[in-house]
């Protein structure tokens, strides 16, 4: 019996993984071969998807990108033994894109069967929880603090401090909320974990619950992720049936298409059954969160990283990275890029290394002109800033943000005035409507940029946009309005020529 691994990740399915699985199954049957297909998550090398792997005595051998039509030739070539074939990629770990990574959060993703708790355990799962139970709740919080883990949703708030606040707040009930409302453009890390290694989320939330004294958790998943919702729910059923959730009750909640519900307080409102509107802070969710109770709201990647930190020690995690950005970050490379995919690495790579080196430049070979980092509210970086190291503080220092780790690459055909307009348009479409700057400002911003594009009193209107950006930045209630100035102002600053301005020498600095 030979096991063949085919991703069931939505990204792989989108390029035909299901058809490949059907074709391989049919081909094996036709040939009377004894093969078992295992649906895994994705390794995150999207230009090679569907990438299949076959288990051989020498280890797994990868092939890709495979199409259904390749089934016959693959068996012909001795697929089961890892035989030679034009699509043969060798051992996956030897593929440079994977080889260069430090996979901690994504260690199991693409390898294990996401429906199998045994597989999860066999690959180190639940070692973190065992360790947590040994060192007790204060020990867990200490370890998470010592690891330097910060919120991977984008805000980068130290996870240990958040947990300690919740642990120290007395209440009759507390909650753990996992934010899987992954809405940033070019991001998919949460989705990949849910589809490829869901038990790590369950384990991470269980540890968090244990640490702060919460017995109930919610995983809030955006409705646009049907596969992830299914995978997560299936994993919860397995965990419940296997007694892994006896002391901690977990529930999946599905969003309704609002980007703002990824903002933690709007997310809480949504779980409570209300309009997805941002709450004013204070009170912080750690003091008064879900149903008015102390609540840990963490990004999914943050929570999925916790088991590894406890299993292998906080020091090991903290040893990676630079400055105040410790550990690894799953960077998601997307857009017009040759090697798009998930790249987990310690903080500190420069933007240029990521885009040009790892990503290999644009997919169509044109020069890279701009890179948007950190989702639709992230700044556009010109080539001139490609020396910026990938870490929270370095990006903030250049009026940008790393956000959830999404990087979208644009070639030289991009019109940055259109991109600035898009940022404001996005803000307008996704605005919850609560605060004035975002609700009205986004619409006025689009109108003003349209006037700039049309050449109508450009300088006055650019000044108006800059004023609007100040109002949005300091006046908005949440990051949607507050961060919209990043893409807008970075486009105006770094690409003035697209706005009818001449590039000043200083602008490139």
């Amino acid at each position: 019996m030979t096991r063949i691994f085919i991703p069931q990740d939505a990204g792989a399915r989108a390029v035909g993984a299901d058809r490949v699985a059907d074709a391989l199954r049919a081909e094996a049957a036709r040939r009377g071969r004894d093969v078992t297909l295992v649906r895994t998550g994705s390794r995150g090398l999207f230009w090679l998807e569907p990438m299949i792997e076959v288990e051989t005595p020498a280890g797994r051998i990868a092939y890709g990108p495979v199409t259904a039509g390749d089934a016959a030739t693959l068996f012909e070539a001795g697929l089961e033994e890892g035989g030679a074939h034009p699509l043969r990629l060798g051992k996956p770990d030897d593929i440079p894109f994977l080889k260069q990574q430090t996979r901690i959060t994504f260690a199991r993703c693409g390898i294990v069967d996401p429906t199998s708790l045994d597989d999860y355990r066999a690959h180190g799962g639940y070692r973190g929880l065992s360790r947590a139970l040994q060192i007790g709740p204060p020990g867990v919080i200490e370890a998470v603090t010592a690891s330097g883990l910060r919120g991977r949703g984008g805000a980068g708030f130290p996870t240990g401090i958040k947990w300690k606040t919740v642990a120290d707040t007395a209440a009759d009930r507390k909650f753990i909320v996992c934010n899987a409302d992954e809405g940033d453009s070019g991001t998919y890390a949460d989705r990949m974990i849910m589809e490829g290694d869901p038990f790590s989320v369950i384990e991470g939330m269980t540890i968090a619950g244990y640490a702060v004294g919460a017995t109930r958790g919610y995983i809030y998943i955006r409705s646009e992720y049907p596969d992830a919702i299914r995978a997560m729910e299936r994993a919860i059923v397995v965990a419940v049936n296997r007694g892994c959730l006896d002391d901690f009750c977990l529930e999946v909640r599905v969003g309704a298409g609002s980007y703002v519900c990824g903002e933690e307080t709007a997310l809480l409102e949504s779980i409570e059954g209300r309009r997805g509107q941002v709450r004013a802070k204070p009170p912080l969710p750690a003091h008064k969160g879900l149903f008015g109770r102390p609540t840990v709201v963490n990004n999914l990647v943050t929570l999925a990283t916790v088991p590894a930190i406890l299993a292998d020690g906080a020091e090991r995690y903290a040893a990676l990275g630079v400055g105040r950005s410790r550990g690894t970050m799953p960077i998601q490379i997307a857009g017009n890029v040759r090697h798009g995919g998930l790249f987990e690495a310690p903080f500190g790579l420069t933007l240029g290394e990521i885009v040009d080196g790892i990503g290999g430049g644009t997919a169509n070979g044109r020069p890279v002109r701009a890179v948007q980092v950190g989702g639709p509210l992230g700044a556009y970086f010109p080539r001139a800033l490609f020396d910026t190291p990938f870490d929270y503080e370095a990006f903030a220092g250049r009026d940008g943000l790393i956000g959830h780790g999404g990087i979208v690459v644009f070639d030289d055909s991009v019109d940055m005035a259109r991109q600035a307009r898009f940022a404001l348009e996005f803000c307008g479409i996704e605005s919850c409507g609560k605060c004035t700057p975002c609700r009205i400002g986004s619409v006025r911003g689009v109108e003003t940029i349209d006037r700039i594009i049309a050449g109508d009193r450009r300088d006055a209107n650019l000044a108006l946009v800059e004023d609007l950006c100040q109002t949005l930045k300091f006046g908005s209630l949440c990051a949607l309005g507050g961060f919209t100035p990043y893409p807008v102002m970075s486009a105006i600053t770094h690409f003035p020529e697209d706005f009818g301005r001449t590039r000043l020498p200083a602008a490139a600095a």
């Binding site: 309009r275 919850c432 609560k434 004035t436 009205i440 619409v443 109108e447 004023d467």
Partner: protein, 946 residues
């Protein structure tokens, strides 16, 4: 006089005792922990610009005008949502803040009509004020962008307009509807620029769940939600604080005027009973004051089949005096009497009883409280020693378990209901004991822990069963009973309630309530913390009304729920001055302050002061008057402000009694139903036209202030004086305040009350005397007024009104939010938009059996009479029970109610009538005849007055 502007602190106060100090713009200020920076700034005299914040609702943080900078903290936090911290250094004005505020205001105005000069809110618009405050001079975006300027108005509500073009989406209306009113009728629909205020699921206001309380209009900072009266008349220029004349809550309002014209009634924030809230009646339903049917001239006639003839005041008063004297001469001193009204002021009711006792020389004075809360007076006096509720309304904010029995606060006492719902949303538990599924049983974010849907007439049994559970399960508060109650009375009572006939299992069979629910409710009440009981006419208007009041008092005592905030026995009084009219000696057996007429000492005090000998025998109660009239021994009646024909039970009997009298004098605003049988009509004045006081359900004495001259030319109190004078009984007062001075002098519990004090402190709750110079919010704190609390045995005795094959259903009556009592006032307002006829609620099962569909005409028959009305098929009522209101004379619901009454007080048994319901094709012949008769009774001769 000028317009009263209450200070808006932006956010609600913090209740914390501990204070912190901080610095705001260089000023040191100390405020309670939990106070917002915005409110602290107001305390320091610094107004931070704001639009979405107002101190009636929690901070929201959406307008972004109130941003401040705090030393050592990043960004520009909103001062409304950020609480103070010790040592904080706050700047409310910096260059950056100025720019942001101006930027925000520029955005607002880019989507707002530029019609300030013709806008109804011109001069009373916070947006306008803020545009000025932030120094906005230019809207660089222009006005050609996307906007809401053409959004359609919703004018469906009769009292206010919703103009979305002027809306700034601050959510103040939505939050007021949720937090202040607790109805949750409003929401924001859509998101981003499409966000807009929506009533219900994009319905019009009138079709939505909106109860038209006005909280949203009050909260709106612009002209978006605006009173139609302001749109029509313009902004008011002066205001007078007065007290609402509907229901027993006693809300304070600012009557906002333009000259003599009332522009609007706005709930007064410092009103201690209402805390700035209102309901559709007090807020909007005042148009009856100017209704065309208002009678402004005195009228007389010799016989009731004649048309009325307008006469001078002197002729009318002379007729009253000569007739009354003639009748006393012919039939004896006790042949005449008077009925006063709880809709009138303390001073007016005091004068009517004084007229009767001193001028008529008998005690034939009764008041409409007879037919509502007389059992409360008797029951609470017997158990506690005082004929009044024990708490203030604010007490409910400390309650953990609330029993609502025989009351429907969301309809009848809406402003208190809002307060109660707020507490319930905070987590207090609720037990509803009512035959109907009243709104409180399940309303947004509120659900009763138990609804004991008892069969009408079984209150005493259920209350005994609750007590049985508490006593037999060892849940008694022994310390309270030991220290505060009469021990032998307790022992007798405890052994009585422990008997098997009082067990939930036995009572379950009588009441139809599952025994387990009774037990669970009893356990919750006894063990759930502070327990408060609120009740209404569903308790009192029974043959065992007094017994049930006593049973409520027993229940409060056995659980130790008396004498502190959060607990108590709380009668919800139906009309504005039920408590006051009772306090004023309006019952035939007692002088002001609940002192029996046979008490020689008390009587001699009054005799000395009034200069007249007083009768030591009790007089006739209302029902007794009718019986005596039919007997021929009672033939003259002065009725002030009460429509006894419509409101008293068994209309046939009342009509016959009135017809048997020789001189019926009606003093009222309109030719009411009773006036069809009257010989003299004296036009009265509305609460807007008078000075005086009302005493609400929490014993709070509130000032009523004259906002306009009496349209009839003579104040109500002056009319009573004139009758007295004409009969030779001089009552010398120059102003109602002098009447109150006399009341204070003669009544120990009122000894400290004066208009001067009320003007100074707003209101006081009696007892108000040297022991309690500022009044008494909570009674019986250390000991009961009577000394030891008295447990009284409350044996359940079924009413004689029983269902049978001919009358298989039980009718119970009540009222609805938008109408008030007999509807004399509310039927003459736009409140008809919600309720223009009485309807009969009938369970689908009973309706199906009778072939009745929703909206059909049905005939309602009882042993005393029949009427027809339309049916509403609903499971709010249980099978076997039907329900209707008594607001419309075209229905004249009381034609079916009976003569049965409370054993102790003769309070009629309105709540239990055996009836049959059958499909019909319209009003009964009696209804048509009645209507014709009433119309004939209202004819006014066109001959000029002499």
């Amino acid at each position: 006089m000028s317009l009263i502007h209450e200070i808006d602190y932006g956010t609600p106060p913090s209740a914390a005792a501990e204070t912190v100090s901080l610095t705001i713009d260089g000023n040191r200020v100390a405020v309670p922990v939990g106070t917002s920076i915005m409110r602290a700034a107001m305390d320091a005299g610094i107004q931070v610009p704001k639009l979405c914040a107002t101190d009636s609702v929690d901070a929201f943080g959406s307008c972004r005008l109130c941003l401040v900078e705090i030393a050592g903290r990043p960004g520009t936090p909103a001062s409304c949502t950020t609480p103070v911290a010790a040592g904080m250094v706050v700047s409310t004005q910096t260059e950056r803040l100025k720019q942001v505020r101006k930027g925000v205001m520029e955005l607002y105005i880019s989507d707002h009509p530029l019609d300030c000069l013709t806008c109804a809110a011109n001069g009373d618009c916070e947006l306008q004020d803020m545009a000025g405050a932030v120094g906005l001079r230019d809207v660089r975006y222009g006005y050609q962008g996307e906007n809401h300027l053409t959004a359609a108005k919703d004018e469906s509500n009769p009292y206010f307009t919703f103009d979305p073009a002027k809306c700034i989406v601050c959510s103040r209306c939505v939050r007021a509807c949720e937090e202040v009113q607790g109805t949750f009728a409003l929401t924001i629909q859509g998101r981003g620029f499409e966000s807009k205020v929506s009533a219900g699921m994009a319905e019009t206001f009138i079709e939505s769940e909106c109860v038209s309380c006005g909280a949203c209009v009050q909260a709106c900072p612009t002209a978006t939600l605006m009173e139609k009266s302001v749109i029509e008349i313009g902004q008011p220029e002066h205001s007078v604080v007065t007290t609402c004349a509907y229901c027993g809550i006693g809300c304070n309002f600012k009557a906002e005027m333009r000259g003599e014209e009332l522009v609007r009634m706005v709930p007064f924030k410092d009103g201690q009973a209402n805390d700035g809230h209102s309901c559709v009646k007090g807020r909007f339903a005042w148009g009856y004051a100017n209704h065309r049917e208002r009678i402004l001239n005195p009228m007389i006639r010799d016989r009731i089949d004649q048309p009325w003839r307008e006469v001078s005041w002197s002729e009318a008063i002379g007729r009253v005096a000569s007739e009354f004297k003639r009748l006393q001469g012919a039939h004896g001193v006790r042949a005449i009497g008077a009925i006063s009204s709880s809709r009138c002021s303390n001073e007016e009711t005091y004068l009517v009883q004084k007229l009767v006792r001193g001028g008529f020389g008998n005690n034939n004075i009764d008041t409409c409280a007879r037919v509502c809360h007389s059992p409360t007076g008797y029951g609470l006096k017997a158990t506690f020693g005082t004929s009044a509720g024990t708490q203030d309304f604010a007490s409910v904010e400390h309650s953990d378990v609330v029993i609502v029995i025989g009351a429907n606060p969301t309809d009848a006492h809406p402003v208190f209901a809002s307060r109660l719902k707020k507490r319930l949303r905070q987590g207090a538990r609720l037990i509803v004991i009512d035959p109907r599924r009243i709104d409180l049983v399940r309303t947004p974010h509120v659900e009763a822990a138990y609804h004991l849907a008892l069969r009408p007439g079984t209150n005493a049994a259920i209350l005994n069963a609750l007590a049985h559970t508490i006593v037999t399960e060892g849940l008694v508060n022994e310390a309270f009973i030991r220290e505060r109650c009469d021990s032998s009375a307790f022992e007798h009572w405890a052994s009585f309630v422990s008997e098997p006939q009082n067990s939930p299992e036995a009572v379950g069979l009588i009441s139809g309530v599952p025994p387990e629910a009774i037990r669970a409710a009893a356990r919750l009440f006894a063990t759930g913390g502070n327990g408060a009981i609120y009740y209404g006419l569903g308790v009192t208007e029974h043959s065992q009304g007094t017994t049930a009041v006593m049973a409520i008092a027993n229940l409060a005592m056995v659980t130790g729920n008396l004498g502190r905030p959060g607990v108590g026995v709380n009668p919800l009084r139906g009309q504005n001055n039920v408590q006051g009219s009772c306090d004023m000696g309006s019952f035939p057996h007692e002088l002001p302050g609940y002192r029996h007429v046979s008490d020689d000492g008390v009587r001699s005090t009054f005799e000395a002061f009034w200069g007249r000998p007083l009768d030591a025998e009790p007089g006739l109660r209302i029902g007794n008057m009718f019986d005596a009239a039919l007997d021929g021994s009672f033939s003259g009646l002065y009725v002030q402000g009460e429509d006894i024909l419509q409101s008293d039970p068994n209309t046939h009997h009342v009509a016959a009694a009135l017809a048997a009298m020789e001189c019926v004098v009606v003093q009222d605003l309109f030719l009411n139903e009773t006036s069809a049988y009257a010989h003299v009509f004296l036009p009265g004045s509305t609460f807007l036209e008078k000075d005086g006081t009302f005493t609400n359900a929490e014993r709070r004495i509130n000032r009523v202030r004259r906002v306009m001259a009496p349209r009839n030319g003579m104040a109500d109190w002056e009319i009573t004086l004139a009758i007295g004078r004409a009969m030779g009984f001089e009552m010398p007062y120059g102003h109602p305040s002098e009447v109150m001075d006399e009341i204070a002098r003669l009544t120990p519990t009122f000894a400290g009350v004066s208009y001067e004090l009320l003007d100074k402190v707003g209101s006081v709750q009696w007892p108000c005397n040297t022991a309690a110079p500022l009044g008494t919010p909570v009674m019986h704190t250390d000991s009961f007024v009577r000394g030891k609390g008295n447990f009284i045995i409350t044996e359940y005795v079924p009413t004689d009104e029983k269902v049978g094959p001919r009358f298989p259903l039980l009718l119970t009556t009540g009222r609805i939010l938008t109408q008030y009592n007999v509807g004399a006032q509310t039927r003459r307002t736009a409140n008809l938009a919600w309720h223009d006829q009485d309807v009969l609620e009938i369970h689908p099962h009973d309706a199906e059996q009778r072939g009745v569909r929703d909206g059909d005409w049905v005939r309602l028959d009882s042993r005393t009479g029949a009427t027809s009305l339309r049916a509403r098929v609903t499971d709010r009522v249980a099978p076997g029970v039907v329900y209707t209101t008594f607001h419309h004379p075209t229905t004249q619901t009381n034609v079916v109610t009976t003569d049965y009454s409370d054993w102790a007080t003769n309070c009629p048994e309105y709540k239990v009538t055996a009836v049959q319901v059958a499909p019909s094709n319209g009003p009964t012949a009696w209804q048509r005849d009645y209507g014709d008769h009433a119309d004939r009774g209202r004819r006014i001769s066109k001959v000029a007055a002499e």
